[in-house]
Amino acid sequence: MNILLVCAAGMSTSLVVNKMKKALTEEEKNWTIEAQPVDSLEEVIDDYDVILLGPQIKYKADEINKIGDEYNTPVGVVDSKDYGMGKGRNILNQAIKLKENY
């Protein structure tokens, strides 16, 4: 699965990306997890299966949901507690659920 994290300028998500990568299980090792600034989303969205937003750009959720619909890709806002504490596994689970329920 390819997961894209999106935040204002692609900054804060690098922590989360690191923590998520660490939390990958053996079977998930080949997953791609990357961070991108929100502005470049449309250029890269094709490469990903799930889009996660940093809580600080929750306000953009509607806009991004629309893009997600266009490309058939689920979009979600990362739980802010998990985000701040870098709970990589929780966020991965969130992504898996988003994908499953889409």
Partner: protein
């Protein structure tokens, strides 16, 4: 490798052994074990590929083409050829290839940047390019060697006609003639006397010169001159040279070169030593950091000798502790010379570059990819140990060289006199000033340490003077070497024995006494020449203090309390590795008059011409500096509120020779905390966490308080315990008080141990940063949720701080989180926004990474339509800018308008 390549390889090998005269297909076929026709097929293919050529004749021979392209020149392999030496290398090539005969060249650069090495490379290049014949002479001459004796120097250079002066009893060719058809490298050419310069210029202009004492016969020589000097560009002397020598090549100082290059230099020096020792040498990461960062004033030359010294110490440790535990040669902090060790303190300046080099290195670094080295443990006891204590060997070597050149005893003695004094000064001049006695015995052994101690006790007695640790160390090293030498029956020679005997008769007599001590202890017979050397160690000024020493700013720490100043100073001096700072303790009972008198005396004592910096804690002490300056005329400045980090910074700068004003500036510049931080950064993860835990990770606490007797506090506590489901990191504290003022006092006390989040109770109060909930609100349940949220949030931040540890290179995660929380709440206030705590958290992370990015020198993010956005939100951006300014000041950064726009957008739209 395919067959064709194999054939090519074989041809190369064979070509080497037959001087490249060409090879027949038969020879190659035999070597490759294939048929002759096959061989010639491959050879013809190689000819087609342009890798070989045919030589006509019977049988046809094949020859390897040495093209310029696939044969990389040595000069292109010099470390830095691709980066900081790129232009120098180009210039050098141009100088050699310039038609018709190349250009004479002037090399500029500080001591030790590698001018000689570079000249040799130029020579090699000239040979490779067939500008010079292979085997053409490369003659090297250092004009400083005989600068005190112009006559001798000129004789060396231009040759002497028989009878030119007393003692010149036959013609002798000069070096210029010896270099005919080759290259003459004149080092320190600025030391050439004017007369010699004139002669050199004549030669440069006309291609001929005259021997000393010869007025009519001119001698012609075809010599390419490469002159080198440490003079700075633009000096008067240099201008004369530049007029005559058109090609000027500057070699950069080590400090101007990249860390990557420095690393490669270190690597190559270590590899050299490995070859000499015949064993792999490993280096600890911290030692590598020190080597990469220390102030290496004398450039590559010094770097090399410091590495050699470290290797030698490592080797000695390895040899002397010949137990099984130490089975490898390792260089750690212990093996480093003091001034190198201090390098690690320069850590923050080049962190980024440093990280790039060391990030993938393990704690113990191996430079060698040659496994053979290690298998070969039983090789002869390497000469490396001598190499750095080569005091005698140099002299002996010189004697034989000079004898070969036909100089007589007197001349040799005169030349060596210059050499020896120079060497002697270098020999001890280089040593760290305060070498800890405990550390010498590791190098020279206990026996010698105690002997040296006895020697100086005796000498101090006899000669009525005292010796410092530096000379102590010098003699210890010297004896270690000379005793071994005497035992081995090797000769010791002192060229100025008679002079020493007459000029320093007192010392000589004492040295004789010392010699008999040595003889007895080691049962040997100290020769007279060695006694000459011993005498030199005992003279009043065995070495000159460096000029810098005279001007170093003194540091005087004065603090209230019985031992505060002493203990802080001790810590600092230990860290610096030099007893530079001095302390005066001022117990409360001591009256200020007395303290002042002491301070005044100390200041006068400490002043070396650079002034004294007084570092005090508070109060009346702060005015001492001015008063002392008025009274004594010694430049004295005072810094108040001093702490260990600030004293450390001041001492460090002072030891490095910075001026008083600069020291004050950098101490003030340094935030007390940010300095502390730098030290934490160099600790391992585990250590770091521990320290941070101690410092920042106070337990969270909620206080319940009531007046004694009304019992509300206990009830509140029970209720909260039930409601809040607290974890182990949380404390509920009950206070029962007599009056309201006590509460503030108690809270203050608690704050040193806990992070007090809120006070719940019947006593209404107001303390910054602590929320108050009334007991009534709690009992009715209204406040419980608020309190819960408050705690949740706090716990979340604690967790976040922990998860951020080691995510940053430049930021302290605990510190930045606290700072940003403050900033964010101020922004919310100004913008009149109440933002959900989860989003706050996201913004905080964003800002932290943004600051880290700025510190790392990363690129700015571009905000879409920034101009338009700025115009529209001018007022809010100004407000934001005002608040963020605190961060900018703390971290000495500038936050770009694009970044501000991102931040503002997050606040506004959420």
């Amino acid at each position: 490798m395919n067959k064709k390549e194999e054939i090519f390889e074989i041809s190369m090998k064979l070509a080497d052994s037959n001087q490249d005269k060409g090879l027949t297909a038969r020879v190659i076929a035999k070597e490759a074990n294939i048929s002759r026709s096959n061989a010639s097929r491959y050879l013809n293919e190689l000819v087609k590929d342009g890798k070989m050529r045919k030589i006509k004749g019977r049988p046809v021979k094949y020859q390897i083409i040495k093209s310029n392209n696939d044969n990389v020149k040595k000069i292109d392999k010099i470390i830095g050829a691709e980066s900081s030496l790129r232009i120098s290398v180009q210039q050098a090539k141009a100088a050699i290839l310039y038609p018709p005969d190349g250009l004479h060249t002037l090399l500029l650069g500080e001591t030790g940047v590698g001018k000689s090495f570079f000249a040799k490379l130029m020579y090699n290049f000239a040979v490779e390019e067939s500008v010079l014949k292979s085997g053409a002479p490369f003659v090297q001459f250092n004009c400083a060697d005989y600068a005190d004796n112009p006559q001798l120097l000129m004789g060396q250079l231009f040759g002497v006609k028989k009878g030119a002066y007393t003692g010149a009893n036959k013609d002798s060719n000069g070096l210029l003639k010896n270099a005919d058809g080759g290259m003459l490298f004149l080092d320190e050419v600025h030391r050439l006397p004017p007369q010699g310069q004139e002669m050199l210029f004549t030669f440069i202009d006309n291609g001929f010169f005259r021997m000393l004492g010869d007025t009519d016969k001119t001698i012609e020589a075809d010599v390419k001159i490469v002159a080198a000097t440490t003079e700075s560009p633009g000096s008067y002397l240099l201008k004369t040279f530049q007029r005559r020598i058109p090609m000027v090549i500057e070699l950069p100082a080590l400090s101007e070169r990249t860390l990557e290059e420095r690393y490669k230099l270190i690597e190559s020096f270590i590899k050299n030593e490995e070859k000499r020792v015949g064993q792999e040498i490993l280096m600890y990461k911290n030692a590598l950091k020190s080597f990469l960062l220390y102030d290496c004033k004398n450039n590559i030359g010094q770097l090399k000798s410091d590495i050699q010294l470290a290797c030698a110490k490592s080797f000695l440790n390895y040899k002397s502790k010949n137990n099984q535990k130490i089975d490898l040669l390792k260089i750690g902090q212990e093996e480093l010379p003091h001034h190198v060790k201090k390098g690690i303190m320069n850590l923050p300046d080049k962190r980024k570059e440093l990280d790039d080099i060391i990030k993938n290195k393990s704690n113990l670094i191996s430079f060698s990819n040659d496994i053979n080295i290690n298998n070969n443990q039983a090789r002869k006891p390497a000469k490396i140990a001598d190499k750095n204590y080569m005091f005698y060997d140099v002299i002996e070597e010189k004697i034989s060289v000079l004898e070969e050149n036909g100089l007589n005893k007197n001349e040799i003695s005169e030349i060596l006199n210059i050499d020896i004094e120079k060497h002697f000064k270098n020999y001890i001049g280089d040593l760290p000033k305060n070498f800890k006695k405990s550390k010498i015995d590791k190098i020279v052994g206990e026996e010698i340490v105690s002997l040296v101690e006895e020697i100086f006790k005796l000498a101090e007695n006899r000669l009525n003077r005292s010796y410092d640790e530096k000379i102590y160390y010098g003699l210890a090293l010297h004896l270690k070497r000379s005793i071994a030498r005497i035992k081995n029956g090797e000769k010791i020679y002192h060229p100025n024995l008679d002079e020493i005997r007459s000029d320093h008769s007192q010392e000589f007599i004492t040295a004789m006494e010392i010699a008999s001590m040595i003889d007895e202890k080691f049962s040997l017979k100290t020769p007279l020449d060695e006694i000459g050397y011993l005498s030199m160690f005992l003279t009043e000024k065995p070495y000159n203090y460096g000029k810098n020493d005279l001007k170093k700013v003194g540091i005087l720490v004065i603090m209230h309390g019985r031992a505060a100043a002493t203990s802080m100073t001790e810590v600092v001096n230990n860290l610096i590795g030099e007893q530079h700072a001095e302390a005066i303790d001022m117990p409360l009972a001591m009256n200020p008059q007395e303290a002042y008198q002491q301070a005044k005396d100390k200041v006068v004592d400490l002043n070396n011409g650079g002034g004294v910096l007084i570092m005090v804690d508070m109060g009346s002490l702060s005015s001492f500096g001015e008063m002392i300056e008025e009274e004594t005329g010694v430049k004295t400045k005072t810094i108040t509120m001093s702490s260990t980090p600030t004293i450390l910074e001041a001492s460090r700068k002072a030891v490095l020779g910075d001026e008083l004003e600069d020291i004050i500036y950098s101490v003030e510049e340094i935030g007390k905390e940010s300095y502390q931080q730098k030290f934490e950064k160099s600790l391992s993860f585990g250590e770091k966490e521990k320290i941070i835990d101690k410092k920042h990770k106070k337990r969270l606490a909620v206080v319940t308080a009531c007046f004694t007797g009304d019992g509300a506090a206990v009830k509140l506590k029970d209720l909260l315990e039930e409601e809040l489901e607290l974890d182990r990191n949380f404390s509920l504290i009950t206070l029962q008080l007599m009056n309201k003022d006590d509460l503030k006092k108690e809270i203050k006390e608690l704050k040193s141990k806990y992070k007090v989040l809120a006070v719940v109770g019947t006593i209404n109060f107001d303390i910054k940063d602590i929320q108050y909930f009334s007991a009534a609100d709690i009992f009715t349940g209204d406040a419980i949720n608020k309190l819960k949220k408050l705690i949740d949030r706090e716990e979340m931040y604690q967790e976040m701080k922990k998860s951020l540890i080691d995510q940053f290179k430049y930021l302290d995660s605990f510190k930045i989180v606290e700072e940003l929380r403050d900033i964010i709440s101020r922004i919310e206030n100004k913008l009149n926004k109440d933002i959900d705590s989860g989003i706050e958290l996201g913004i905080l992370l964003h800002m932290a990474y943004m600051i880290e990015n700025v510190l790392a020198g990363g690129e700015n993010n571009k905000f879409k339509n920034i101009e338009e956005y700025s115009k529209k939100n001018r007022v809010n951006l100004e407000l934001l800018k005002g608040i963020v300014n605190d961060i900018e000041v703390t971290y000495n950064i500038e936050i770009d308008k694009n970044e501000l726009a991102y931040i503002l957008e997050m606040f506004q739209n959420n």
